[in-house]
């Protein structure tokens, strides 16, 4: 018993107090800043370096739904045309807003990207239970989603938790590119969630197929037939990216 108490004292308080503004290492690759002014004509070095074809030039845009945040474009550009900032708040309710460009700078992104639909706030502001379905997820997204509930991030303090059963959930969090083999189980899980319900896509695979977009083992029809409420980029999304997106979505301060 004494050892347990000593351990508890040594351990101290490890929870991040303010999840909205914690310090993250400068090296973290979060929201990219685009500076097309640096681009010479006919240069497409960044686009050529991108493993998921997330970048288009003229005008310069980067699709965060496809981006795996590998940093290859940043390294390929000697002029600072694309720089990854350590900003982790990247979730959005609109697929098209995942396409970052110069016109859509940081402020645009930060202020308006999560939809205020009213409904999610009314129903889920104090409590949101989510059922996660891995449909080809490589375990990185799954590890980060689990980390959301650990003592550092403690997502539960906002009333946001993962449930074991879809019956107890208010929505699904889908990770992975949605394999053919998981497509039916995903539909079943969705059907089992009671109304009103939301769908959250987490990670580049779920958002666009990611590195597996060209695989012939995928069946992404689920996304054609069901409305997606929240898109959370990353490969995998950092726990702070996920938690902040969900908090914004349900309107918690």
């Amino acid at each position: 018993m004494l050892r347990l108490i000593t351990n508890r004292i040594k351990q101290g308080h490890q929870t991040i107090r303010d999840l909205r503004r914690p310090g993250v290492s400068d090296r973290f690759r979060g929201l990219p800043e685009l500076n097309a002014g640096a681009c010479p004509a006919d240069c497409a070095a960044c686009a050529a370096a991108c493993p998921t074809r997330a970048i288009e030039t003229a005008p310069l845009t980067l699709d965060l739904g496809k981006c795996v945040f590998c940093g290859a474009c940043e390294r390929a550009c000697p002029r600072g045309g694309i720089v990854f900032t350590s900003r982790f708040r990247m979730g959005t309710a609109y697929r098209e807003r995942l396409v970052a460009g110069e016109a859509r700078g940081l402020n645009f992104y930060m202020s308006r990207s999560v939809r205020d639909r009213g409904e999610p706030r009314r129903f889920f502001r104090r409590s949101l239970k989510l059922r996660q379905v891995s449909a080809g997820g490589c375990a990185a997204c799954e590890l980060e989603l689990n980390a959301c509930s650990n003592v550092n991030f403690d997502m539960g303090r906002y009333g946001i938790e993962f449930t074991a059963s879809p019956r107890h959930a208010d929505g699904l969090v889908v990770t992975g590119p949605i394999t053919k083999s998981m497509s039916r189980a995903l539909e079943d899980a969705y059907a089992a969630v009671p109304e009103p319900k939301i769908v959250v896509l987490a990670g580049a695979c779920a958002l666009s197929g990611g590195l597996y977009a060209e695989s012939d083992e995928l069946d992404r029809r689920f996304l054609e037939t069901h409305r997606v409420d929240l898109f959370i980029p990353g490969c995998p999304p950092h726990p702070l990216t996920f938690i902040n997106a969900v908090i914004d979505f349900i309107g918690r301060k």
Binding site: L4, R8, V24, R29, F69, C138, L145, Y212
Partner: protein
């Protein structure tokens, strides 16, 4: 040992791999397996005009050598199954049957490996193992499980609370990863990122296995500084995942000090990777021919400080965990795998070492950073949950010591990447890495124009899921989560 002798990561010409007549191939496999060689890879590859080559790679761990040979099926696609004599072949044979129609005659359970909805069927038709008897009941689980984890289907056959048989059917995660490596024109950097997601929790293990294979085929010499960073990162990944596993094991038995404290300790370690390369999993750290981030500035000093802090915390928490009677009563004698079973199934990694098998690629087939920094082999004997947990504790310390050793002798900063060279045409390479989960195998074949023609991946999980099936026999079904977590196997690493 006969056949072509291979070294880890060193290519040989495809013409140097003997293609034996089927009878001779069968005799060769049996003779080598009887001699104690271990199957590392066993896979089909298109051999042109309806023909299929079957490649067999066996490991002679004591002598740090691999043997490779092949046979060609032109018309008749049958051979005598090796599984009845050597169970370690059972999944490899099922896989080659599923992918290339090579029929192993006499295979005791020729069931699907990754096929969930076979052509022509409307539903899932997997024939689960059954135990007959009036009082037998079955418990079905999955494909979606109760936690935030990957999918797979389990079927338990129980008498009362006791599990008599467990059959695991995977394949739900199949993304066709191996074929994506063969896309024409895909740059190696993109393939490296793909390798990192073969099993995202073994990002560095699979990434390194790919890099090693590619560099072997191209003949690139990775700069020394980059080799050191690679070793350091792989050991950080190992320590982080082992600490996370001990946290999860603590959670499964409601030992909250362990769950909370070790969970937070893992954060220190993965945030160290974040400081090195911008990703908590080490994504983007590796480059083909080296690394993208070389511990510049004061990062080496910060890595050392973090490693010291994490080791202190892990030591303190493991001290509590492994001296608590309530923990030991759940861990000890639960989910036991005997050394004989582990060897027969071809188990690898910490799970094998916990059952007394001295297998560690870092020591047995050293390459890259491990060629100049040897790693001591660790084993435990009991093969239960306790041993699989405690071997992790030992390996955490080992990894941290290894990292400190690398930091003490860090080669001077300089070039981090050796320029890539074209791949050697018509060559064959086997790249082995001891990731935290065990032996990670990437085998590659190139065609006449120097492009990848077949890419084969064997995750440690491919061997070890069968170990879990055996481990739970005779245990209470409520101990299954504990057994499962003590293995912590990959679904997508298996499903590819």
């Amino acid at each position: 040992m006969n056949g072509t002798i291979l070294k880890n990561g060193k290519p040989v010409g495809l013409k140097d791999i003997p293609v034996l007549p089927i009878g001779e191939f069968e005799d060769r496999v049996k003779a080598e397996a009887l001699d104690g060689l271990r199957v590392v890879a066993f896979f089909g590859a298109a051999g042109g005009r309806d023909a299929v080559n079957l490649y067999c790679v066996l490991a002679d761990d004591e002598n740090s050598r691999l043997a490779a040979f092949a046979t060609l099926f032109a018309g008749d696609r049958t051979y005598r199954s090796f599984t009845p004599d050597f169970p370690a072949f059972h999944l490899f044979e099922r896989e080659a049957y599923e992918e290339y129609g090579l029929l192993p005659e006499g295979h005791p359970a020729l069931k699907p490996v990754r096929n969930i909805f076979p052509a022509g069927s409307d539903g899932e038709v997997y024939p689960f193992d059954r135990v007959e008897g009036e009082e037998v009941h079955e418990v079905g689980v999955g494909p979606i499980h109760a936690g935030v984890i990957e999918p797979g289907r389990f079927r338990f056959s129980c008498l009362g609370e006791t599990v008599h048989r467990l059959d695991i059917h995977l394949g739900y995660q199949r993304r066709g990863a191996e074929r994506l490596f063969l896309r024409p024109g895909a740059p190696p950097e993109a393939l490296l990122l793909l390798a990192e997601t073969v099993a995202g929790d073994e990002c560095l293990g699979h990434g390194l296995a790919f890099a090693q294979a590619w560099e072997g085929l191209g003949g690139a010499d990775c700069p020394l500084r980059a080799l050191a960073v690679r070793g350091l990162a792989l050991e950080l990944e190992r320590a982080a995942m082992h600490i996370g596993d001990l946290a999860a094991l603590s959670g499964d038995i409601a030992y909250l000090p362990g769950q909370a404290g070790l969970g937070a300790t893992r954060t220190i370690v993965i945030n160290t990777l974040l400081e090195i390369c911008g990703s908590r999993f080490g994504r983007g750290l590796l480059a083909v021919g080296g690394v993208n981030y070389g511990l510049d500035g004061d990062i080496a000093a910060r890595v050392r400080a973090n490693v010291d802090a994490a080791e202190d915390a892990a030591d303190r928490l493991c001290g509590l965990l492994f001296s608590s009677a309530s923990v030991l009563s759940r861990f000890e004698s639960t989910g036991t795998v005997s050394p004989q079973t582990a060897r027969a199934l071809g188990m690898v990694g910490p799970a094998a070492r916990a059952s007394g098998l001295s297998l560690d690629v870092r020591a047995d087939h050293p390459a890259g950073p491990y060629a100049s920094f040897p790693v001591h082999r660790l084993t435990l004997k009991t093969g239960d949950v306790f041993a699989r947990a405690y071997i992790r504790r030992l390996e955490i310390t080992q990894s941290f010591n290894f990292i400190r050793g690398l930091l003490d002798g860090l080669p001077a900063a300089g070039d981090l990447v050796a320029p890539p060279r074209p791949l050697r045409p018509e060559a064959f390479v086997v790249s082995l890495v001891e990731s935290w989960r065990g032996e990670t195998v990437h085998a590659a074949l190139t065609d006449a124009s120097g492009r990848l023609a077949r890419y084969k991946i064997v995750d440690a999980s491919f061997h070890n899921w069968s170990g879990l099936e055996q481990a739970v026999r005779g245990n209470g079904i409520s101990d299954f989560p504990l057994c499962n977590k003590s293995f912590n196997l990959s679904y997508c690493g298996f499903d590819l």
